[in-house]
Symmetry: C2
């Protein structure tokens, strides 16, 4: 009886979440601007109701009752209890009045960050950043130190069981390989011709090509749709409704095509979770990093693969005769895989991207483990960019102020992006054993076996298995950055004839 009550209760919470997500999706895909102020009040009301449900005594009692008879519970219920408990404690351990104060600070900090970025004035943001950090430290006190250090508590929010020990190790190894490659590429005479990328590609053609790509990758249009937004995203409303957005830039087709492929990876994860988890909080990706591994697998290992374009290049030329009609496939491939150290993370290429993440990770780790003060961030940031990427930001706007994450208190999140690349390379390595003709499938445009492999090893479980467990069972290994390092080494040595 309690199991049924508990399941009904958490499903009802998911209903509220789904309603909120429909509204978020709508707000980002064309809701009329004059209605947005009132819509935010709607979001406020539903969020408050959801928060009440998430922190109620009733839920606390249900959890305690079930935790007292774990031996009687099936595996799904056990994991469900564990996940809901984690979320419950996270919300409940912070005194409501303090949380309220923090939310107000968050809002002010975001405004201050916007202004600081716009006027290139770190000093404007610093006092807010310091407060946000000290609140987060206070929260860590409430939540408890996990895995031996305060920052690990934050990592665990996004990547369960992740620690600085693990990250220091894998990022350390990977950094050496990447920095060395980047340095060699900088002096290589074999630079691609990239001006071909920036010609006019009509938006309607970009959309048509995006739709073809999605169909080829295996996206289920009966369980999703493609829309447009300022920043591409995927939103999982429920098992049968995982929507993608993309952005059409008529002078740079890459944002739409690679954005679509990336978001498709996210969407296919959620479309292929086992139906038995429908409506439960387990019917989602098991971590930020694993989710990102799905999108990056498709973006990099499929979408930037030579064989994929051997199959698709004619279609691309069909939709962009003016731009690519006379461009050889080899030149196209070198252009879309160009490497160029740059300041802005979200515009970085595949090879340098992890360096941007490592810099942020090291800063966060040192902030929370007591080795760095917020006021020193600009200096440390710029030094690290110079050391790892060989370039030094000239302004804080293009340096430490570029991302909004910290203004919202999101510490511990950045590593997921690089973890996604590491996981993705591990999936690829494991997949090669089961699908030795991977390249051949891409060449023929027969991508179904690839999606099915990922469904079998990753998608179906949703959050039923935790990241490390999923990885171990699918690949027989723990986290290992060597596969990514080897992939990057081989790929860029070849492309740049190093």
């Amino acid at each position: 009886m309690t199991v049924q009550q508990f399941t009904d209760y958490v499903k009802k919470m998911k209903h509220y979440e789904e309603a909120l997500n429909v509204i978020y999706w709508d707000m980002r895909t064309g809701a009329p601007k004059k209605g947005l102020a009132q819509r935010s009040e709607v979001v406020g009301t539903l969020s408050a109701s959801l928060f009440d449900m998430e922190t109620s005594e009733e839920l606390g009692d249900l959890l305690s009752t079930l935790e007292s008879k774990k031996a009687d519970l099936d595996y799904v219920t056990l994991r469900l209890v564990e996940e809901v408990r984690k979320n419950y404690d996270q919300n409940k351990k912070i005194p409501p009045n303090e949380y309220k104060e923090y939310v107000i600070l968050q809002s002010k900090a975001e405004t201050a960050w916007e202004e600081a970025k716009a006027t290139d004035n770190f000093a404007l943001f610093l006092p807010y950043l310091e407060q946000i950090i000290s609140w987060q430290k206070k929260f860590i006190g409430y939540w408890g130190i996990k895995n031996g250090s305060p920052y690990n508590t934050l990592l665990d929010l996004y990547e369960p069981d992740m620690t600085t020990d693990v990250l220091d190790h894998v990022f350390g190894e990977l950094r050496k390989t990447i920095v060395s490659l980047v340095q060699k590429i900088a002096t290589s005479p074999n630079k691609p011709e990239t001006s071909i990328l920036f010609k006019h590609f009509p938006r309607e053609s970009q959309r048509a090509l995006s739709l073809e790509m999605l169909a080829q990758l295996g996206y289920d249009f009966d369980a999703g749709r493609l829309d447009e937004s300022v920043h591409p995203f995927m939103i999982g409303l429920n098992h049968g409704d995982n929507r993608i957005t993309t952005k059409y830039d008529e002078s740079d087709f890459r944002s739409a095509i690679f954005g679509t492929i990336h978001e498709c990876g996210h969407a296919m994860y959620e479309q292929n979770i086992d139906e038995k988890l429908d409506g439960l909080p387990l019917a989602t990706g098991t971590s930020m990093g694993i989710h990102e591994s799905q999108s990056l697998f498709y973006e990099n290992f499929v979408g930037r693969n030579e064989k994929f374009w051997e199959h698709n290049y004619e279609r691309l030329q069909h939709f962009s005769a003016e731009q690519f009609g006379d461009v050889a496939l080899a030149d196209f491939l070198r252009a879309i895989n160009m490497v160029e150290p740059s300041f802005i993370r979200i515009e970085a290429d595949e090879l340098t991207y992890p360096l941007h993440i490592m810099i942020r990770y090291e800063i966060e780790r040192d902030l929370f483990n007591g080795n760095l003060q917020a006021k020193d961030l600009p200096q440390v940031w710029n030094d690290k960019y110079e050391e790892y990427l060989g370039i030094r930001p000239e302004t804080d706007a293009q340096g430490v102020l570029q991302d909004m994450h910290w203004s919202g208190g999101m510490f511990g999140y950045f590593p997921s992006y690089a973890l996604g690349m590491i996981y993705a390379a591990q999936w690829k390595h494991a997949m090669d054993k089961d699908i030795p003709n991977f390249d051949e499938l891409l060449e023929k445009g027969e991508l179904l076996p690839i999606r099915e492999w990922l469904t079998d090893k990753v998608h179906q479980y949703g959050a039923l298995k935790k990241p490390f467990e999923l990885l171990q069972e699918a690949t027989g290994e723990a986290l290992n950055a060597n596969y990514l390092a080897n992939y990057l080494q081989d790929k860029y040595t070849k492309l740049y004839k190093l």
Copy 2:
């Protein structure tokens, strides 16, 4: 203090309603089909929460407190209390278990109706219809007889204070005029050439023309958007977000163009309600009939007006050169105003449409006032069609089973459609005094003064004034069908050279 509490409370109810409406809009404009089952559960959860709020003791207490000190309340609060009380009693007076039973019946009745219509078998639907009617009679018992007869209680749900006495009178007069016109037209040799209407009009061109029309009519695109759905509709999410949908039929452009104009009339009503009512249940149309008077005003008095097309015909030809390039404006006008008695209400022309409504009204009135049994409906229905329209349905599917309203227990709603036409003609008559150059404005495409007049007399008040009060103050008269009768008489005598 209680006023503030009450206002906050009803605003929170509106937040739930708005969230539900975003979901309804989404479900009808392209939500992926595999997600709909789960989405219905979300609707169920939010609706149940809303119903709890609508029927809570807390709301009851707030209402009683405010009702006990009416002298202290401002006019807006007074009307707010009155409206919320009406809705509260309507929900609260039905015992919850009975309401639950009724909702289940409703769902079964809708399914039975669908099957009965598909198989042309009234007997399948009859037992459900009988139960629905007897439940509605029971509800009338709970709600109390309004204005002297049971059916008036139902009318009052959609059109406050409306009675069969009033309707018998206005419909009676109007019917004579229309039936006589229809009979004359039937024998007129001056029939329009209507085959020109049904040629290929590309959907993209229909959309482009629809957008132009909306801009011309005065639709605020910052407070709305145009989408596509199976049946056109307008949904008011909040003051700054009133969305329109239309339907593009490539072999009959009329559904898109006149559908868009019609829904625009609804949307402009809600876009122009006084801001002081924002977020309150009064920020909506004051009745179904008044709402319909706005859509029908634009559809008929603007959209089917000769002068309107003198301004717009070139644009139409621009978008449909193949179809209308060689068609004279006069022929186009006669075609879009053609009269032809037909069986299906939603396909009826402007002149015969009210007859469809009167038939349904008379049947409902007699059902609830005890003069008709459900089992006799097909016979009565067909007799009335023969008497009023001169045609007799050959099947119940194209007769009594065509509308879904009764399967959902919506009795009292149909009259609103015809009332909308009557009101619209009254607005037009009053407007003529203030805007004597109405036709000239249409000819120049300068429609703003028309919208402003309607805002001044109707829109701004939302539900602050009740229908009869609004009508009296704007036109100096009570409900009067003569203006509609005269308009139809003049228009069709001229068009058909009677």
